[in-house]
Amino acid sequence: MNIKRKKGWEIPESQATPETVFRNRRRFLTAGAAGALALGGGAYLAIGQGGDAVAQAQPDPSAGLYPAPRSMRYRLDREVTEEKVSTTYNNFYEFGTSKNIWQAAQKLPIRPWQVKIDGLVAKEMVVDIDDLLKKVQLEERLYRHRCVEAWSMAVPWTGFPMKALVDIAQPTSAAKYVRMETFNRPDVASGMKASFYSWPYIEGLTMAEATNELTLMVTGIYGKPLPKQMGAPIRLVTPWKYGFKCIKSIVRVTFTDERPRSFWEVSQGSEYGFWANVNPRVSHPRWSQASEEIIGTGGKRVPTQLYNGYGDFVASMYTDLEKSGERLWM
């Protein structure tokens, strides 16, 4: 395997990678080789388990980019969640309010896919996802993911730092926030026909948060392109915040001086705010956030950590804000 190893690589991969994932990667490589042979090109047919068999009925033009080398800077304290668990338990209200939407999500066409970059930028642009992927360096990172509903998982995302996207966009110095927007397609996403929710899904970050090294634009998972139910072809991941911040299937990135009002803030502002940083000591109005259930483990609960355990990377962004009385924890 041709894996670029970053500095700080000191332990053998078998120690860092749970065995199941390690084996999955093997299987993936075999499948990839077979697919490449069959197509006679660089593309391959992902022969995935569980949810993504349908998703990948069409060869994904970016499939050749995976698996990307794993960054060893971000370590887990727990097993990676099984693929068939994490890809079949998804909050994606565009396709319905249950967590069992992975099949419904397969209706979403993800090629061609363009992302509009506008607002306070040097030059507005519309960038094709595959062109964007050529401009950035993909890497794999193991992150914990903490849902506001007190469950969590740990997954190997593949993506690129959002800072790279900010560099491409070249925002002006007036930009204070990044506002992101999901597709608006009630014709394929039947959940969006529920007319009294505030579609499309909106999320936002401060410029400091957007350029934090943890903030990842994710395009893949488990060494493969992202399945549709997880927000293909491009989504946000901010592992120190509750999961609803991680907006899926982004079509627009706007730099602005106005704090964006997110889907959940508009829908239920008393429970879900702009910051949504993980804090075990600050309860959700209806439940404790002190512990979390790790999905797919038969109900195992572990204590939740401040900033989901990523305080070393992000806490400094909030020291002043805390004094100003911002609701940092919801």
Partner: protein, 289 residues
């Protein structure tokens, strides 16, 4: 005293098919959930799913027990009364299982469960409803009716109206954005309560129960539509007109709005009742059965 299988026999000691059938059916949702749990069919958070499943069935059983009296009148089916206490006891058993599953889900952390019940108002409400159900279940035997006297017993058991209300509120408050099913339950609750109130208040209404029930079905559906719009306005600041308009959008991808479901269920009951009255009129001997 010899062993007597009370759930299966009537007062005269004869086998009672209705009681026996209901007795068996009451186990089905619980066993079904247990089976799904054992087979791993409940997804990656099985305790959570099972807790919700059993909780929803608790509410359904409370509703069925509340529906017995109106249904008995509407359907002219006096034997129905014989299963009311059984359904009520089942509601308690499911509610208790619901709490136990929450215990399991919280990894048997007694302190946490207790503090959550105190801290989260919707859990407090649910817990009070459970205590109420426990009191009613404990006094559900013939011996307890004799001991309390029929009048006091009836007054005590009227607490089920309040318990039903608390249970619906608990269901609403635990919901995230989606209050579809609680809204339907609230609408049906309104229908049952209005029917009882109207029939109790008016002798004329007692003479035309089907007319009253169908009129109130429309009223309850309208209240459901209005209540849903008010809920979305208060909770999410959604313009009422938009929620009201959603009732007029018919799309195969969308579930019918709660108002329509309430109307369909309540009118279905009325239609079944009307058909049964027709049959009874033609075959009067059934009336004594």
């Amino acid at each position: 005293m010899p062993f007597r299988p009370y759930p299966l026999i009537d007062r005269a000691g004869r086998f009672a098919p209705l009681k026996a059938a209901v007795f068996v059916l009451l186990f089905v949702p619980g066993l079904w959930t247990a089976y799904d749990f054992a087979m791993g069919n409940l997804g990656p958070r099985p305790h959570d799913e099972a807790t919700h499943e059993v909780g929803i069935w608790t509410l359904r059983f409370i509703f069925l027990s509340l529906a017995v009296t109106p249904l008995r009148e509407l359907l002219q089916w006096s034997k129905l009364l014989a299963v009311r206490r059984m359904v009520g006891v089942a509601a308690f058993v499911y509610a208790f299982a619901h709490l136990m599953l929450y215990f399991v889900h919280q990894a048997f952390d007694v302190v946490k469960v207790a503090s959550e019940i105190v801290l989260r108002i919707y859990l407090t409400i649910g817990f009070v409803a459970l205590l109420g159900l426990a009191a009613l279940a404990a006094t559900s035997t013939d011996a307890m009716i004799r001991r309390l006297g029929a009048k006091r017993w009836r007054r005590l058991h009227q607490a089920v109206y309040v318990i039903g209300l608390l249970a619906v509120i608990h269901f609403f408050m635990q919901s995230k954005l989606n209050v579809y099913e609680p809204t339907i339950m609230a609408g049906l609750f309104v229908w049952l309560m209005l029917y009882r109130a109207v029939v109790a208040a008016s002798a004329a209404a007692r003479k035309a129960p089907l007319l009253v029930a169908s009129g109130l079905a429309i009223v309850s559906a309208a209240l459901t539509v209005l209540g849903e719009a008010i809920y979305f306005k208060l909770m999410m600041n959604v313009p009422m007109a938009r929620v009201l308009a959603a009732n007029l959008v018919f799309d195969i991808d969308l579930d019918p709005r709660p108002g329509w479901i309430v109307l369909a269920i309540s009118l279905a009951v009325v239609i079944v009742a009307a058909l049964r009255q027709l049959v009874l009129r033609r075959r009067p001997q059934l009336q004594t059965a």
